[in-house]
Symmetry: C2
Subunit: 437 residues, 2 copies
C-alpha cells in the first residue's frame, strides 16, 4: 500500500511535478496524508486552510494544527476565516453549500493572485460513494450520480482511487498526526448516517463495494458522455444564437425521438423547474411562456425563444431635450440630436424631423398595446402590433423595440420606421437630425 501511495503522484500525475500547487488542507487524515505525499514527491506546493468557524475552539484548533503542519513540512500556508453561517443566511443556501462556495471562491482567488497552476484536494473513494448516496436519497438528475471528477477546472484529486480506511491505515503506519475531519460539518447528520449505518451494511454484502462502485459510476459516466456527444450533434441543427438569446427549432425537434428529454438536456442549465410546462410549450400557442429565475422561454410560431430576464428593459421612460446632443440609453445606445440645414440620406437609424412639429422633451419608451402610428411612405394609420406582424418581428424583437414620442404621438419606431406626420416639408427651415448609434 505504502508503495502505491508513494508512487502515486509521479506515476499518475506527472504533470504536477514542477507545477506550482495549492493544497487544500482541513487537518483531517485525508488532507494530512496528501500533504505528506506532496512533500515526499518534492512538489512545489503551498497549503490553504479555511476556518469556517462552525465549531468554535475546535475550528481554531484545526487552523493552528494546519499552520504547525506547514511549518514542519517547511511550506507556505494561507489561512482564511469565514463567517459561514452568516453567508449561508444571506445567500439563502445551506451551510454546506456556503462552505463549499466560500472555499472554492477563495481557492480561485488565491490561485490567480499567487499564480498556482493546480489546486489539490484530498477527496477519496468514500466521499464519492457518500455523495452518490446523498444525492440518491434526496433525488437527483443523472449528473448527481456520476461523482466527483478527478481532474477538472485545474482541481486535481489524487486520492479519489483510495478508500478512507486505506488512507487511515497508511497514516497510522507512518505515524502521521491529524485532526478529526471537520469538513462537511453541516451535512454531518446525513453523511454520518450514510457513513456509519448504510455503507457498512453494503460492505457486508460486497466487501469489494468501493471497487465495484467505481466501475458502476464509470460506466454511468460513459453513457452520459454519449448523451453529450449526441447533443453536440443535434445542437447546430436545433439551436441558433442571436443577439437576444437562443432560438430552438421546434420543427426539427419534432423529427427526433424523445423530444422532451432533448429539451431538458438543452435547457437544464437555465434554472427551469416546471418541466411539464416547458414540454407543453412544444405544442402551445404563440406567446405562451415559462419562466425560470434567470431566463424566459417563449413559444413563437415554430420556434422556442430563450432569453434572459432583462429587468432593465422594463417600463422606464427617457426624456430627450432639444439642447442635449447626446443621450445614452442603457441596452439601446446613444441618441444624437443635431440641427441640420437640409435633409441627408435617411436610414433606419436616422430620421429628419421639422423642429416646429416637436413638443419637447421628447419621450423614449417601450411600445405598449394600443399604440398606433402613420408609417412613413404609407397611407393611413397602423397599429404597432400589426406593423410588427407584417414585419415578422419575433417576440424578443418586439420587446426590444423602443419608440420616440412627441406628446402622445409616435415620431419614430426607433431603428425601424418614421411617422408620416413628422415628415419634413419643403417649407421647413429648422430641421433636426435624430440618430441612434
Amino acid at each position: 500500500m505504502e508503495k502505491t501511495f508513494k508512487n502515486l503522484i509521479k506515476a499518475d500525475y506527472p504533470y504536477l511535478c514542477g507545477s506550482k500547487l495549492l493544497l487544500a488542507v482541513s487537518g483531517g487524515v485525508d488532507s494530512v496524508v496528501l500533504a505528506h505525499l506532496c512533500k515526499l514527491a518534492k512538489l512545489d506546493f503551498s497549503m490553504a486552510h479555511c476556518n469556517f468557524n462552525l465549531r468554535g475552539d475546535e475550528s481554531d484548533g484545526d487552523e493552528k494544527f494546519v499552520v504547525d503542519l506547514a511549518d514542519s513540512l517547511e511550506v507556505d500556508v494561507y489561512t482564511e476565516s469565514f463567517d459561514t453561517l452568516n453567508f449561508a443566511e444571506n445567500h439563502g443556501v445551506s451551510v454546506q453549500m456556503a462552505a463549499r462556495d466560500l472555499r472554492y471562491e477563495w481557492f480561485s482567488e488565491l490561485s490567480s493572485s499567487a499564480q498556482f497552476e493546480y489546486t489539490l484536494t484530498a477527496h477519496h473513494a468514500n466521499d464519492n460513494l457518500e455523495t452518490f448516496l446523498i444525492n440518491l436519497i434526496r433525488g437527483t438528475g443523472p449528473e448527481g450520480l456520476t461523482g466527483i471528477k478527478n481532474e477538472r477546472d485545474n482541481i486535481v484529486r489524487p486520492l479519489l482511487g483510495f478508500s478512507r480506511s486505506e488512507i487511515e491505515s497508511f497514516a497510522r503506519e507512518k505515524k502521521y498526526k491529524w485532526r478529526e475531519d471537520s469538513s462537511n460539518a453541516s451535512d454531518k447528520y446525513m453523511r454520518n448516517k450514510i457513513r456509519h449505518q448504510i455503507i457498512p451494511v453494503m460492505e457486508e454484502i460486497n466487501p469489494q463495494l468501493l471497487d465495484s462502485f467505481a466501475k458502476t459510476q464509470q460506466h454511468l459516466q460513459e453513457s452520459l458522455d454519449l448523451v453529450e456527444d449526441y447533443m453536440s450533434l443535434l445542437y447546430p441543427k436545433l439551436v441558433e444564437k442571436d443577439k437576444y438569446g437562443y432560438t430552438l427549432d421546434i420543427e426539427f425537434l419534432k423529427k427526433v425521438p424523445n423530444q422532451k428529454q432533448i429539451l431538458y438536456q438543452l435547457l437544464k442549465s437555465f434554472g427551469f423547474t416546471e418541466w411539464d410546462d416547458v414540454y407543453d410549450l412544444i405544442d402551445a400557442q404563440t406567446g405562451k411562456m415559462v419562466l425560470s429565475d434567470t431566463h424566459r422561454l417563449i413559444k413563437d410560431r415554430k420556434k422556442l425563444l430563450l432569453t434572459e430576464h432583462n429587468e432593465k428593459i422594463g417600463n422606464k421612460e427617457y426624456h430627450l431635450e432639444k439642447e442635449e446632443d447626446l443621450v445614452m440609453i442603457p441596452g439601446m445606445g446613444s441618441f444624437h440630436i443635431s440641427e441640420v440645414e437640409k435633409m441627408g440620406q435617411t436610414s433606419p437609424s436616422c430620421i429628419y424631423v421639422p423642429e416646429r412639429k416637436l413638443k419637447f422633451p421628447l419621450v423614449i419608451r417601450k411600445w405598449k398595446k394600443g399604440d398606433f402610428f402613420y408609417p412613413f411612405g404609407m397611407k393611413g394609420k397602423k397599429k404597432l402590433s400589426d406593423f410588427f406582424k407584417d414585419e415578422k418581428f419575433s417576440l424578443p424583437e418586439k420587446e426590444h423595440t423602443w419608440i420616440l414620442c412627441s406628446g402622445d404621438e409616435i415620431v419614430w419606431i426607433i431603428n425601424h420606421r418614421a411617422d408620416n406626420r413628422f415628415a419634413v416639408e419643403k417649407s421647413d427651415s429648422k430641421i433636426l437630425k435624430i440618430c441612434i448609434t
Copy 2:
C-alpha cells in the same frame, strides 16, 4: 388511498379491461392485493402460481392458499411445481435466476397455449429500489440502475407506483388475508439486509424517498433513452450485416468521440467481458481477436468482424462417393455429382472433372495452412493463403471456405476456383459434373 387503488386499473390501464389476463400470484400481500383489485375491476383474469419447492411445507402451504383464493374469487388458477435447486445447479445459475427464468418461461408458455394477452405481476416501488440497491452494491452497468419496466413484453406491473407499506395498509384495511411473501427466497439474505437495514435509514433522511427515487430513476432512464437514440443514428453508418455476421467500420468509428463507449454499446449484448481487449482491437493488427462465450470479434484491416462461434464448421471432413448423387453438408449446402457426356458452362458453383483423375472417396474439408493448388487458367501453383489475399477474402470468408480434394490434391476451392490439374482434356470420355447448391 383506497380510492387510488380502486380506480388504478380503470384510470391507468384501461386496455386491460376486456383483455384476457394472467395474474402471477405468490400468495404474498402484493399479489393478493392485485388479485382483489382485478376482481373489483371485473377483469377477465386467471391466476398462476409457481411452487419453487424451496421451503418444503411452507411452499405447499402457499400453493394451497393461492388455490383457495382463486376459488373464493371464482377465477381459474394454474399451478406448477418446479425443482428449482436442480435447475439452478444444472444451468449454473443462482437459485434466484433459476426461479425467475422458470417463472417467466412458464408464464410465456401459458400465455401462448391459453392465449392470455397480458401477464400481470405485483412488483411495487420498494422492489424497484431494492433491485437498484442490489445492483449498485454488486456493481452494474447503467441498465442495472434503471429499474423494472412498467409495461414491457406484454408484462404489466400496475403496482409499481405504490410502496410496500401502502399496499399493506390497504390490505389490512380491507382485511385481506395473505402469506408472507416467499418470492426472492434465494437472495433473501441480501434483500432483507437492504430492506430492513439500509432503506429505513434512507427513509429517516428523506421520508419521500420512494417518490424522489422514482423521479431519479426516470431521469436516468430518459438519459439512457437518448443514448439509444444516438446509437440508432450511428448504427447504419457503423455497422453492416452480412451472411457471416456484422462488420464494424473502424474508420468511421475513429471519427466519433468516445469510441470505446460506442463499441461497448454496440457489443454489450454479445457476452464479451474483456472490454479492454475489445477496445485494443481498434488499433490492433489484422487477425487479432477477442472471444466471448457465444461470439468472436476479429480485426480485419479497417473493419471489426463480429461472428458467432460456429463449432459445426470445425475440422470435420465429409466424404463424397462416386455413386452418391446428393450429399448434404451442414452450413454449406448440397453436393450433386452426375456423369455428363460433355462439358457445359462452368461457374463458381460447378466444375467438370475427368473421372479417371479422381481417387474416391473425394474429401470435403476446410482449408488449412500450407494448402496449395494450381489455379485454373493460371500457370503454376499458388498457396491458398495467397489466393485469399489476392481475392481480398475477409477472415470469415476464409473460414467458411471449403475445398474438395482427391487424395492429397485440391480439386476445387468450392464456390471459387477449380484446379488446373483436374481440367478436362479432349481425350476424356467420362466426365463428372460436381455442383453445389
